[in-house]
């Protein structure tokens, strides 16, 4: 297939996934900030939402203060923020238009309808928490529908594989970013008994990767920070864990390699990262430092993006 087509499919999936992630971040932050001030203490959750979205620096170029209104506006609707939900959906549609021939009609319909709704219903942003909640649900449903229609309707060929690469690469990046911002609340301290604030922080992390219920199914335990870290980093059964993302990246890259009769740098690099995740234990990671581990992962992940681009997309 055309390199440009592969590139568009890859970015299309990334943008849709990113829009969902930002929506989840806002949603999780809303829940924490709905708690009585006594629980939250002095930390500004909206500040931390900006950090998890990776747009903290650019935010302060436009705004003075990280208030709920400002942050929601910036994350969800601002044209100045390249990763705002609005911009993600617009970029997704532009990419879709460029590769219409490679999309199934269900996928196109999802993106196109979302784009129309974005303008017609959400053109002026939201003016209440109820409206915002409805908007966030719309974004998450769009992503689910897109993902589902890709899964159910696309031919299993390179178009599908490149789109999945974008999805899993973006997803791995998102999960790693939450961990990077919140790692300090996950540090195991010997006699640490989580206070109410920590408890809400932990649920909030799980919620933002839709893993709250999954946690209980997997561990059948009350929330323990190191188990949360284990789930998000190493547990292959959780779709948003780093390990699961890399199993998928390796699988899709292998399929491309087989179809094209050639392996390359991206297959090698992805396998390397996956092997490291497979052979890691949470104890070692904590000993080495979660922060360093995550930082390294983020760098490796974006490196994979560069290698894929060089090998296939240009």
């Amino acid at each position: 297939m055309l390199s440009r087509t592969a590139e568009n499919l890859y970015w299309l999936a990334r943008y849709v996934e990113r829009a969902e992630y930002i929506a989840r971040t806002i949603d999780a932050t809303l829940r924490v900030t709905a708690l009585p001030a006594a629980y939250i203490g002095k930390t500004n959750e909206w500040e931390s939402a900006l950090l998890t979205a990776g747009v903290s620096t650019s935010f302060y170029e436009t705004y003075q203060e990280a208030t709920e209104q400002n942050v929601v506006e910036y994350l969800a609707f601002s044209p100045a923020n390249p990763s705002s939900i609005k911009n993600c959906i617009e970029a997704a549609r532009l990419n879709s238009r460029s590769v219409r021939t490679a999309l199934t009609s269900e996928m196109w319909d999802t993106i196109n309808s979302a784009w129309i709704e974005l303008q017609e219903v959400w053109g002026k942003g939201t003016s209440s928490r109820e409206e915002l909640a409805r908007f966030l649900r719309f974004v998450q449903e769009t992503s689910l529908r897109f993902d589902g229609s890709a899964y159910r309707t696309m031919l299993r060929n390179d178009a599908y594989w490149f789109s999945r690469l974008g999805l899993h690469l973006e997803r791995a990046d998102n999960t790693a970013r939450i961990l990077d911002v919140k790692y300090h609340v996950l540090l195991p301290e010997e006699e640490h008994v989580g206070g109410p604030l920590d408890y809400y922080q932990w649920t909030s992390i799980l919620r933002s990767v839709s893993a709250l219920t999954a946690y209980h199914w997997v561990y059948r335990e009350t929330l323990k920070p190191w188990l949360i870290a284990d789930l998000l980093i190493l547990n292959d059964t959780l779709p948003r864990s780093l390990a699961s993302c890399y199993s998928n990246l390796v699988r899709n890259l292998d399929q491309i390699g087989v179809a094209y009769g050639r392996q390359g740098a991206s297959q090698r690099h992805a396998r390397g990262v996956r092997n490291r995740l497979e052979h890691s234990h949470m104890d070692d990671i904590f000993q080495h430092g979660v922060h360093e581990f995550i930082q390294e992962f983020i760098a490796d992940n974006s490196r994979l993006g560069e290698i894929i681009t060089k090998q296939y997309l240009i």
């Binding site: 297939m1 055309l2 390199s3 440009r4 087509t5 592969a6 532009l94 238009r97 460029s98 219409r100 021939t101 009609s105 196109w108 319909d109 196109n112 309808s113 129309i116 390179d158 490149f162 491309i256 094209y260 296939y312 997309l313 240009i314």
Partner: protein, 472 residues
Amino acid sequence: MAVAFDEMNGPGGDLRPAYRELSRWLKETPPDALEYRRQEAELLFRRIGITFAVYGDAEAQERLIPFDVIPRIMSGKEWTVLEKGLKQRVRALNMFLRDIYHGRDILRANLIPDDLIFQNPVFRPEMNGQSVPHDVYVHIAGIDIVRIDADNFIVLEDNARTPSGVSYMLENREIMMRLFPDLFARHRVAPVERYPDELLSALRSVAPLSASAEPTVALMTPGVYNSAYYEHSFLADKLGIELVEGRDLIVKNDEVFMRTTEGLKRVDVIYRRVDDDFLDPLTFRPDSALGVPGLMSAYAAGNVTLANAVGTGIADDKAIYSYMPEIVKFYLGEEPILKNVPTWRCREPKDLSYVLDNLGDLVVKEVHGSGGYGMLIGPAATKATIEAFRDKLKREPEGFIAQPTLALSTCPTCTAAGLAPRHVDLRPFVLTGSKHVTIVPGGLTRVALKEGSLVVNSSQGGGTKDTWILDE
């Protein structure tokens, strides 16, 4: 202006046979049921994303072309005549182009003034002596036809460069069949869906000699911001070929390749929807970012076929148009089946003075204009507009032609006040391959939605209709 011929209710208000069933169906169908389906159609169009862009209109970057659900119907007999005339015309266009870029017999016969060719900006000296596979220049032609009475179809314009609109022909039918199965059941409507197959086989038939047995065809688009982008992606999809932009192509050793995830792949035939000027920055406009450097040299080396060929603009130029009857006679030795609109060439002093004296009754068009822009419709214009146009005309008479206003036929159309007659034209699409000239029965009917308006262009508020040719 004469009273327009209505295609449903002919002169004297007698229902014409082709419309008998439709008329009966309309009487049986309650108006709100029709309205409901009209809304349904609009929704479908929007969801599918069939839009076009209007240049210079930031507010409405993507617009829907209004679709009118009342079909325009022609009998098989009428179509047979039309089809013969169209094939004849397109054959002549191809022979004319071959001649202009080679022996130039027609100039030596003094049928067309030399400077009309050589000083014409759409004449491409690069094509002199260049041979093209099977001497086909215009693989895809969109001939604009209007009807003035029961017997006469007239050619308004030959589009021999990159005619668009065929996606609407196909999608309109698709949507009509979905929404009005009951109406189809009462008619035998000739299908149009084989168009993509015929287009693909025409394109493959003109592959260069150096191509493999299975030539690779690609559709080249200027990109998502082009007004006809939807059509480009739609056609590439239906044809099952890659939709490429200039940046996807690269020329090496006079061969054209596309960049794919598996490396470079040779392209043999390019159905290009990019104008000549933007094809190759090394040959034409150096500022073009849409084109492919070196494309023209691969073309000259005979390693790639461009469809349509470069330089076909000289055949559909409005100044050349007025010579079409002579062109048909010269190359085919036949009387033209389809008539031309009588045309005054403002470059000729006698014609100019007639035009200046009768501006209020004429339509004056720019020789190089298209899309209905830059023209004067005398009977509908204010005095001031006419006077302003008079100055323009005097300054540069060779830039204009003039024609009488035609009483375009009308068809019943949905309006706010119920069904009412609106003026229509027709653009059938004529395909030329190595062996045959083919036309899918039908075409794109454009309708001027404003009462009394004669401008059917989509950029100026025109709509479209499904066109039915009855299979009798």
